[in-house]
Structures are given as C-alpha cells and as structure tokens.
Amino acid sequence: MGKLSLSIPPAFFPLLVEGPAMAKSVTTMSAVSTSEGLLSTRPEVIQRVRGGPAQAPWGAIMVYLTPALLVYLAFTMYPVVLTFYNSFHVIKPRGAEEYVGLANFITLFTKDPTFWRAVANTMIWATVAPVADVGTGLVLALCLYAKVPFARFFRVAWFTPVLISYVVVGILWMWIYNYDWGIANQFLRTVGLGAWAHSWIGDPATALWALIFAHAWKWAGFNMVVCLAALFALPSEVLEAAELDNCGWFRKLVHIIIPMLRATLLNLLILAFVGKMKVFDLVWIMTRGGPLWSTETVSTYVYKRAFEWNTFDLGYPSAVAAVWFIVVMAFVIGLTWLFRQRERLEY
C-alpha cells in the first residue's frame, strides 16, 4: 500500500456532525472495519452510540480520566481561571492586587484603538487564511488523487513546511522578503518587474498579506494530507457511478466529491480558524506587530502589554485575553451550530 505515507482517517473530526448525520460520515471510515474489507459500506447498520452498557462503570471512568484531568486542572484550568480573576484587578507584582471591577474592560472597549486594530487584523487573518489554506490543501490533494507521476515525492515535498518550526519559517520568509537580496524582489527584478519590488513586510499596506501568505505556505501541506486521506476513503462505487454517468471532472468535483468531504473540510476550517485567531509566533518573529500596527494581532498585543510595556500589571492583558477567549468561543459555537443546522436540513 504505497499510496499513502500519512493518512488520517477522514472522520476524525466528527464533532460537527453528531446525530443522524454520523451514519453518513461513518461510511467514509477507512481502516477500522470488520472482516468485510477495507471500506465498509453498510451505512444503515453502523449507528454509533456513545457508551454501550447501561450503567456507566464509574471505577473504570475514574481510572481513565483522572490522570488527564489532574494535569488539565493544575496546568490549564487553574491558570485560565486565574486569568479571568486577574482581569478584574490591577495586579501589582508579588501578589498585591487591587479590585477594579470592570475598569479594565471599559478601558479596553473605549480607549484602546490598538486593540481594535489588532482585532481587525486577526479577524481578517482568521477569515481569509482558513479558506486559502483548506482550499489549497484540497486542490493539492486532488492533484495527487488524480494519480500524477512522482506522487510520493510531491507529497513529501509539500508536507515539509509543516514540519518546520515557526522560528525557521519566520527567518526564512524574512530572507525571502528582504528588500535588497530576497528572492521575491530579485525574481521581480530579473523578469523586468523591478518597479513592483516592495519592502513587503515594511509597508503597512502589504505587511499583513505577506505574513498571511507565509503562514499559509506552512499549513497548506497539512490540509492537503488530511484531504488526501479523506479522498482515498471515499467509496469508489459512487465515483465510478459518476464516471459512468459521463460527468465532466469538474462537475464531479463540485457535486460529488466536495459534498462527500464536507465533514472533513468543515473540521479543517474550524481548526484553522481557531489557530489563526491566536496566531503569535510568526508575527512575532517577522514584524512584531508593526509597521504602524498593521500586523498587530490580539496575541501579540497581549504579549506586549504583559511583557513589554513599562508595567508589571497583568490585569489589563488578562482582560484582553479573557475578552478574546469569549469571542473565539462564541464563533466556534456559532459556526458549529450553523453547520449542524445545515446538516439536519438535508434530512
């Protein structure tokens, strides 16, 4: 089975498609099946029910959950709660705090233009980039699915950026965007478009897009791999039937493949969305939020307020983080609900 070097079973994001629609996505499940072979095709039988026995065996549950829960409570929950707590105070270092109620939030919403700029930038990023990432990933996966020669080599080459850390990606792209000897401008100069040579990350108009581009470069390969796995898990009968019906490949794509990949694509989009809403590393390495706040994101702003401003107060950055947490949650819940509605409607 040399076709796949890394595949993730496509239905590994079923959170969006609970309930009746689950049966549909389960048909695309790959390796796990009974003796009937690689691809199970009995949608009507496999109804996943969460939990088998009528009584939940509490002993077992405790054993399985406790370690993870301990780590979670101590290292995640507690700091998060502390952050919300901090947001209602002005924190002096060494434990001294001063309760200020909603003062931090009021300042945040009325007197902080940088915050709103950061929000705008982050929202642009989080709406444009997931579409680009997932779209590119899908296109690449389709290319590989169409059985081009050297598929294996392409797959490895296209996945490499995912393995590279943000520090490396940032440094690399700074060198690429370098005004004097970066390859972007050199390329433009050699093809005679020297006039278009820009200081890509030095110009507020282009900086954000330059960063989005570099970030997408890194993640397209990940999306590709997931889509590829999903494609390979599609039941071949349906595709063959479409062939027989003499559909052009484009119509096949739009009307059959994409709908069948819907679950995977939606999950990828949401994951990408969440990731972009808290993007920090790349921005920090390349531009630190400049020039003129054109690449300031909420995360970089929080970091600056917590570590770079001439103050030890943690209350304000905590307030920013708390607000942003709620915003992102609202979006995720909203999007999930929205997609689930559409799924239900189809029945």
Partner: protein, 276 residues
Amino acid sequence: MPIPRVWTHALLLIGLALYTVFSAGPFAWVSIMSLRTTPEISASPYGLPERIHWDKFLTAWTTSHYGMYFWNSTLVVVSAVAILTILGAMAAHCFARYRFRGNRLLFFLIFSAIIFPPQVTIISLFQVLVKYGLFNTRAGLTLVYVSIQLPLTMYILESFFAQIPQELYEAAKIDGCSDYNIFWRLTLPIGVPAIATTIILNFISLWNEFLYAVVLITDEEMRTLPLGIQKFMGDQMQDIGMIATGLMIAIVPVIVVYALFSEKLIRGMTAGAVKL
C-alpha cells in the same frame, strides 16, 4: 472542442512542479546555506557552496552547545509525547465509549483550552510550577508541554475511538475482557493510525516550542533547541551561515520522526483491516 489531455496533463505537471519549488525550495535553500559561511552567503545569497563546510555542524554541536540543547529537547519532548499519548488515549477512550452525565460538558471544557493563547496563562503557569518546585526543571517543562497538547490529542483520539463499532466491544465483553483490558487490547491496537498521527503532531509542535521554553527554563544546561538559534541571532550580526546550520540541526529530528511514524501509520491501517 475539449483540450487534449496531453496539454492538461502537462499544464498540471508544470503547476505541480512550480508549487514544489515554492514549497520545498526554501528548505533546500537553507540546507545549502548551512554548508556555507556567512561571508560567502553575503557575497552571493543563492550560490552553491564552493567548499562544503561540514565543520560548521561540529562547531554548532560543541562550541555553541547544540549537543546539549539537542539532548534536553529530546528528553523533554519524548517524555511529553509519551505521557501525552497515554493520558490522552485513556481520556479519549473514556469519553468515546462511556455514557455518563457530564461527558460532553467535560469534553468540551477540556477541548476549549485550545482557544486560549499561551501568552497570558504563562504567568500563572509559572507560579504553579514554582509552587510545586518544578520551575527551571525539565520535568516541569515536560508537564507544561503535556498540558498544552492534551486538548488536541484528546480531541483527535476521541473522534477516532468513537468510530470503532460498538459490536467489537460487545464481542470483547462476551469474550470476558474487563473494562480495563478493553482499552489495552482493543482500543489501542485499533487506534494505532490515530495515535501515530497525534505522536507526529505533538512531536512537531513541542520540538519547536519556544515561548514556554524561554520563560520556564533559565539554566543554560537545561535549555532546549529553539533557544539555541537565538545565540546566532544577536544584534552584532545576523550570522546567517550559522543560523542556517542551527536550523538544519533542529529540523532533522522532526523529519526523522515523521518518516518513522508515518510508516507505522500505514502498517497500522493494513494490519487493522486484515487481523480482525
């Protein structure tokens, strides 16, 4: 008249080739630069090495302490990934298989931790570590790493485990497996593809993790690899040649892990289908 397939294929190949250059080109460029010295690079950034400076890797490993950082990174990340796999799988198994009050709520609660940007929790995390005496220790950093990757690991594994047909479990129960055995003998072996996936993802994220490493470890002897690069990124001069060398040292393990585990993934998939 439809375009002859030869043309569409050729166009496709050209497109793919271009994208490959776009995607893998920078990496190839860095690997070439890692073998050249900085003055050579400043003179001609895109040239090929005239003399291959393998000694740069040696310099980085010894003089710049990359060997030590590498060891620390390995220790911390491998431990963290191992713990993550066990803890995450256990929790995922529990959420996926058992129906109990608060199942969904708890699950969502843990998953929602993904959304929080790390920049703020780092201070309180720091305080927690100090309280437990784990600040500036590799054990402390390991536990923090476990906590930041736990939500995603659990999420991926849970959705995969939930796919396993209930019949298999019923059959195992009839065969006399206890609840505890089911996890080890059924869920884990079947879940190998997903587990391999999480191992790869966790390794990639943690190997390259920077923010927590810089704040929570202050002893030079315990520093991890991402901090090592910083040594060459001083103000004096961007030592581009050495940065490239350092980058290569950092990238190679990730590629190795990826190569190793993706094979496991395939084998897992084929084995799973055949054995049952």
